[in-house]
Symmetry: C2
Subunit: 161 residues, 2 copies
DNA sequence: AAAAAAATGAGATAAATTCTCATTTATACT
DNA sequence: AGTATAAATGAGAATTTATCTCATTTTTTT
């Protein structure tokens, strides 16, 4: 048996998040400002979708409310942020990084947790075919889709139980 | 060639809508009141999802704003109303009648129209299997799902063009 | 380093929804 | 049918969520 000691260098991770935040902004020709970096870092802190309230708590008045909304708008405009609504009508937001895979969402009605889930290639392929049929039938041009699943986490969720 | 004359008896349809509204309420042990009947009738007037604003216009001050929201809440509670949010964050609402088939939604980003669409049995079957996998993987109990498709209606839509 | 452009903070404003409570309406019970 | 009781409604106040305004600060350009 081997024992590994893992040193968790928070500074390193923070520096990393700051770096990637800057990169996201410069890659999209958006000026690099402190509020934007802070908001991006807060978004990166969790891989699952978060509410605006979650973000405000993380930012702890380091960014004004109006600025937070404005920055989220900026990030939507450059397509690195996805905004949608949970079943209880709360706006949630998640970062879409270059390497983010196409995914869908699973909602827990008890604790409100939202989990990113991937579905099989077979399923996605059949869905694309269905979408082509719908496009023809309704004379639509469809550019996006999503599958949402609603339920309750039985025991694993950290918020519930 | 034959020519058919179709007489559209509004009174008959109104009476019918009023009757089914009453039936919906009594079937669910909800007291039958005028505002509830009016809201149900407004909901029945269109088969596709409608915004709260649409309803208010149809009701033309015959039902107070607070009552409208309250009645919609009541209808949700007895599971005859489905409420969700369109991509531009507007709340929309649709009646779920006993005979309503399982369906999904198609959103037009230009005119805001929302269309009910059914997908093939083959697709729904595969989706159920995917959902079973997700339930196992995340230890969830999933009780509902929906597929949303986003695009633009190319020329058929009555609101656009 | 200075000038120009852009972003921010603080609070005002707007829109959507919920809440409060006095009055009205519906239901249950003679 | 008529009355008592319970429930629902209307009107507007309050709350919540998001956007807007504009003077000040920060970033970018030169």
């Amino acid at each position: 048996m081997r024992i590994y000691l893992i040193f968790f260098d928070t500074a390193f991770y923070n520096k990393n998040m700051s770096e990637s935040s800057r990169k996201i902004l410069s890659d999209h020709n958006v000026s690099i400002t402190n509020p934007r970096i802070l908001v991006l870092e807060a978004l990166m802190e969790s891989q699952n979708p978060q509410t605006i309230d979650d973000l405000q708590k993380k930012l702890q008045n380091k960014v004004a409310k109006s600025t937070l909304y404005r920055v989220l708008g900026d990030l939507k405009k450059i397509n690195v942020l996805h905004e949608f609504t949970s079943p209880d009508n709360t706006t949630v937001v998640e970062l879409l990084l270059h390497d983010a895979e196409h995914h869908h969402h699973l909602f827990c009605g008890d604790c409100g947790e939202i989990i990113d889930v991937g579905l099989s290639d077979e399923f996605e392929k059949l869905l694309s075919e269905e979408i082509k049929k719908i496009e023809r039938k309704f004379n639509f041009h469809i550019n996006d889709h999503r599958v949402e699943m609603f339920g309750t986490c039985t025991d694993q969720c950290s918020n519930c139980k």
